[in-house]
Symmetry: C2
Subunit: 327 residues, 2 copies
């Protein structure tokens, strides 16, 4: 079944108000979850909403908390999220980084004790909508072994890079694992193998079998040793810049709460839009012999899905939708 | 055969002075090339020096040029390298980013019309030696198809992230291709297959055969579509922020000159050294069932090679060494 963006947003907003969210925060969170589903990121839209509600009920996330600045040095600021809403804190941090960048070219906000921001791309689009380049990254609970290791001590630590563009922003939103556990489960439910190896099995062999990877907990970093190194660097950056919790401390607590994040915004006086168009056009001239894949820029499929879902409605998992309607 | 760091540096310095380099630039370039070999990055040390000398002789790189600031907005600066020495320009840019960050927490310098910086890690170590976090990236001549494409329109666009650490800086220096062409040639010369697929052959099949990839020019981005997206974003960032040349323009000119780069430096008041140690220690607890690989942090092997080569001498390719001694 499908629902409209307004239906989805209104229903989520109602649930959050029942959970005693202040109206502005209920509105922001409902809008963000609904927009994530609208953009095709169902795993961090409606489908994630019940998990979010549970964390609120367990009082692991405080919907009343306000983020606060702990320290300033010029264009760098260190904030605490006070264990509040991840979506709200991330939006405030990118907003602050945008303000710094609009004034002095570049700004950086690191935040400790915040929570899952759901879809990282949300804050990339936010920066790009403000005419700025946005770069942000977060740590996460361990779900991936480092290269050479056999059990997870690295988070998938997503990296977002967004560049504003009139025809549709260019927004890269990528985790450091080749496939998310959500994606592995999708393949498993369809009884399909992965198109490329997505991890090691318990015997240490690369495998395309999603069930083997879910069992071994040995998801593969992109580019083997390279993605492993990049995930580690992201944990070091967010932890030390925010003074917050590392993947180790998050993992020891068993629940993915109290994470650390960094938001960087760059706003030069002139960004030559034609340069971006030329790069995208040139990249697409690479053609394809197999016809198996088309060449798309990061964010292009998101925009296509957004337009499609705006017309045809947003597909929802009926069971989850009905459960939320009864909340 | 092996040589000492001093021998290597003196010999390169002599050649550069003969090419009418100003003494300070000859010294910086000779030191950087020699240090790259000392750190085990032979491909961008002595082995690359003859190519560099050719570009100087062809007047494609001007050793007399000075970089200049074109535009300032607070902590963001746009520079031109005036087609001068890549090593010199990159060192000046990171130096400037360090100065901005030490004053106001973060600084960003984008440079157009510069040249190959050789080993990107050099500028990561430079920032970390100054007690700062350094992030830099560059575009390059096309050598990798985008995901879904069959001929190269993306550079391998290396990304460097460095964090200062007393026991040895943590420095990630990674190109977006799974294997460099230099690495493919090494395997080919040894008549060995790659340990993991490194590209597509001319029929569009993933292959571990280095010769097939050299022939097809279809090197594989790390993480397939993910590294492809990240390489594209890096080209967009360096080109638009510097107002310089994109991979397309570099590639059209057939020679890898006149590239674009970005240098970001972050210098908060407090970086808790114990947090970094805890993260590295925890990551290494992931162990290894196979014993095939050990877990190392980015920069760890570099430091080990540096110490070894300082004691045992720096291994050099005899033919290249003798050629340079006759220059």
């Amino acid at each position: 079944m499908t629902v409209t963006l307004a239906q989805l947003k209104n229903e989520l907003n109602r649930v959050l108000l029942n959970l005693s969210f202040p109206p502005d925060k209920a509105d922001l969170c409902a809008t963000t979850f609904a927009s994530n589903s609208r953009d095709g990121v169902y795993s961090h839209g409606l489908n994630r909403f019940p998990v979010f509600v549970e964390l609120i009920k367990e009082k692991l996330i405080n919907p009343l908390a306000e983020p606060a600045c702990l320290e300033r040095k010029g264009m760098f600021e260190r904030w605490t999220g006070n264990n509040g809403l991840g979506i709200y804190n991330a939006t405030r941090c990118m907003e602050r980084a945008i303000t710094l960048a609009k004034k002095d070219g570049i700004g950086c906000v690191a935040i400790q004790h915040t929570n899952h921001w759901m879809r990282g791309g949300t804050y990339g689009w936010q920066a790009a909508d403000a005419g700025c380049i946005g770069i942000c990254f977060t740590n996460a609970i361990a779900g991936m072994p480092p290269w050479g290791g056999d059990h997870p001590t690295l988070g998938n630590n997503p990296l977002v890079i967004a560049v504003p563009r009139n025809g549709g922003h260019v927004v890269l939103d990528m985790a450091m694992s080749q496939y998310s556990y959500g994606k592995l489960q999708e393949y498993q439910l369809r009884n399909e193998n992965l198109p490329f190896p997505g991890g090691h099995d318990t015997d240490g062999n690369l495998t395309t079998n999603p069930a083997s990877i879910i069992q071994s907990k040995r998801a593969l970093p992109i580019g083997f040793w390279k993605g492993s190194g990049l995930a580690l660097m992201i944990d070091i950056l967010v932890t030390t810049l925010s003074g917050g919790r590392s993947t180790q401390e998050i993992t020891n607590d068993k629940k993915e709460v109290g994470v650390s994040q960094v938001f960087i915004c760059i706003n030069p006086n002139n960004l030559d839009a034609s340069q971006i168009e030329n790069i995208l056009d040139y990249t697409k001239t690479a053609g394809s012999t197999t016809g198996k894949h088309s060449i798309s820029y990061p964010g292009e499929n998101t925009l296509r899905t957004r337009k499609k879902n705006d017309v045809e409605g947003i597909p929802v998992n009926t069971e989850i939708w009905e459960r939320i309607c009864k909340m």
